[in-house]
């Protein structure tokens, strides 16, 4: 059981993520698994990027249209547990300071964490190795 005061953040030493057209796609650079969430799930991901606590996330989700607090708590426990098990997120100590909470005007949909393991072989070599220093390729406009 994850405690309400617990905070989480993206496990950036292992994963890369992008929110595109409202869908969050996360790739684990170590093992080639990748994940997607949309709607409410993307809302949760944005709050995890802000290191919001479970209680704060629960409160925000419960404010969505049609949300029932008890259900929201259960769904959030499941979602966060799945992301922890896949090493997509990790515990965080402090909230991100000076960032206003994100608000969303939408109907509540149970968040779904889609897990894909079909491209582990294709992603075994070429994505960036976790933990390497950044040395960007010099782009033409900056050359």
């Amino acid at each position: 059981m994850i405690q309400p005061q617990q905070r989480f953040q993206p496990n950036t030493s292992q994963v890369a993520a992008s929110i595109i057209d409202g869908e969050t796609v996360i790739v684990n650079l170590s093992n080639g698994n990748y994940y997607s969430m949309d709607g409410t799930g993307t809302y949760v991901w944005a709050m995890i990027e802000q290191r919001r606590s479970l209680a704060e996330m629960e409160q925000c989700l419960a404010a969505l249209r049609g949300a029932e607090h008890e259900q929201v708590a259960e769904h959030l426990q499941t979602l966060v547990s799945q992301m922890l098990a896949e090493l997509v997120i990790e515990p965080a100590e402090e909230p991100e300071h000076g960032v206003p909470p994100i608000s969303l005007d939408a109907a509540y949909q149970p968040p779904v964490f889609h897990i894909y393991r079909d491209m582990r072989d294709l992603l075994a070599l070429d994505p960036p190795m976790p933990g390497l220093r950044d040395i960007p390729w010099k782009s033409p406009e900056k050359a």
Binding site: L122, A124, D126, P128, W137
Partner: protein, 227 residues
Amino acid sequence: MAPLISCVVPVFNGARFIREALDSILSQTYRPIEVIVADDGSTDNTAGIVSSYGDHIRRVSQVTAGPAATRNLGLRHAGGDFIAFLDADDLWHPEKLERQAARFMARAELDACVTHVQLLWETELEEEKKSLEGHQRTQPVPGYATTSLLARRELFETVGTFSTELWFADATDWFIRARERAVQIELLPDVLVYHRMHGHNLTRRRSAASGAEFARVLKASLDRRRA
């Protein structure tokens, strides 16, 4: 008669290692081959090194446009029935092409062949190598990357060329598109490519910012499959 294999070496300022890469191509037991260096506007001595090989190697160049555009440049100048790529800092096993070509002889339906790849760390990165001890990439890994690819030329018409909108994940995007089209790709268990890790290679440039590009490529693939 054995088919001609075009060996394309995309390079950007690769003077430090390109000689070893080219020697590993010229040492291939397979013949006939042609070697094309596709130069992405290098400003180091890459051109001088390539010219020292005389007529054995052809160099084509462009104003710097990125890895995908450089691979496509090499493709446009390739005359072989089969295309192989070798990054300018990597090495091939002498029998790499011969063993892959044998698979095409054995399997008429085969479209492409990749091999396992072993990463090699230069001494300047000894500390990093130690920190990665036990990581799966210190073991031979499936080489779904251009540096181990041997493909029928017409496959680039079926799957398309490399997307120049991508700066880091163009090869992964190509392999994903190939898989979506049910292209027949065989992965050899043999380690026939050695991918060098050093202070300035492309793999090292693919870190924080490039990770998001891989996520974008996967998103595009999900969209295509859900359409």
